[in-house]
Amino acid sequence: MAIGKIARWGALTAAGPLLAACVTLYGLTYDPGIVRELNEYHQNVVAFVSEMEARAGEPAGAYTSPRATEFYGRYRGVLTNLVVRAQASPETQRCPSAGLASLIVVNIGEAVAEAPRAREAAREVILGFDSQVREAQASGVFESGSCTVVVLNAVLANQLALESIHQRERKLIPPVSTLALALVGDSVRIALRNEEAKKPIGATP
């Protein structure tokens, strides 16, 4: 690592007059393909949940229905491929996100405790949140790549969580389906904002 740094400095010094005036930190590059796939996924998951809610209690709305089987299989593939695509990109920074996430827990505790009629449940939810953040830190699953890999892993994990809820409850009905879909939408928006940050100034969408 140190030898690599010295070698790079040597090369820079030798280059002298060809010193680059623009730098690219960590190789962060905007990928319109990721944006396109995320938008398409979001449109389809909204339509899918709406359809499952309308058919809740019928065989067509069950986790074992052909439509659900096709949808979950398809997006397991599409989202896993997005993560792999990001892993193959030149982005080199190791994301510190899981390590820092516990900082959020402290501040969220007070805010959630304000929820009406929910103080006891709020405490349980925060304890669950805290332990899940610690679990993620221990597993290192969210620290295994660049920040783009991390945000796309979150989209994939939330899609798998939606599937897991459907399997457990056998149907998708509000308020569970509404909340699960909102959380899926949040993860898609966060991933879109991550990509948006890398877009060159003045570039068209």
Partner: protein
């Protein structure tokens, strides 16, 4: 070759600050919105558990989804911050490049 180092430094810092100005405001807005949403989702899960509409087992899965989003939010803000640093450095370097090339009388530094 004559170069007013003090003036160039001042201009480079000003260019970097200008580049950071709008970008930093944007990061603050995004961070506020996402953390507010995260709090709201956890409050909704808690309310659902309290009313009996959401079982504890399902609530755990939903909390796990919120956890994923908290981690993703920090990752996304990290990307914003790195890009901000890049824009600051680029803006400052552009000023220095222009000044050095003008002083040298030929394109000593090229992009």
């Amino acid at each position: 070759m004559s170069l007013n180092l003090e003036a160039v430094t001042h201009q480079a810092v000003a260019a970097g600050a200008a580049a950071a100005g709008t970008a930093w405001a944007s990061i603050r807005t995004v961070a506020t919105q996402e953390l507010h949403t995260l709090c709201a989702r956890l409050a909704q899960i808690a309310a659902g558990v309290a009313s009996g509409d959401i079982t504890r087992e399902t609530a755990l899965i939903l909390v796990g989804m919120a956890r994923n989003n908290a981690i993703a939010t920090i990752a996304m803000l990290t990307t914003h911050t790195v890009m901000l640093a890049q824009r600051v450095v680029d803006a400052a370097l552009a000023v220095i490049l222009h000044a050095v090339n003008a002083a040298a009388g030929f394109p000593l530094i090229r992009i």
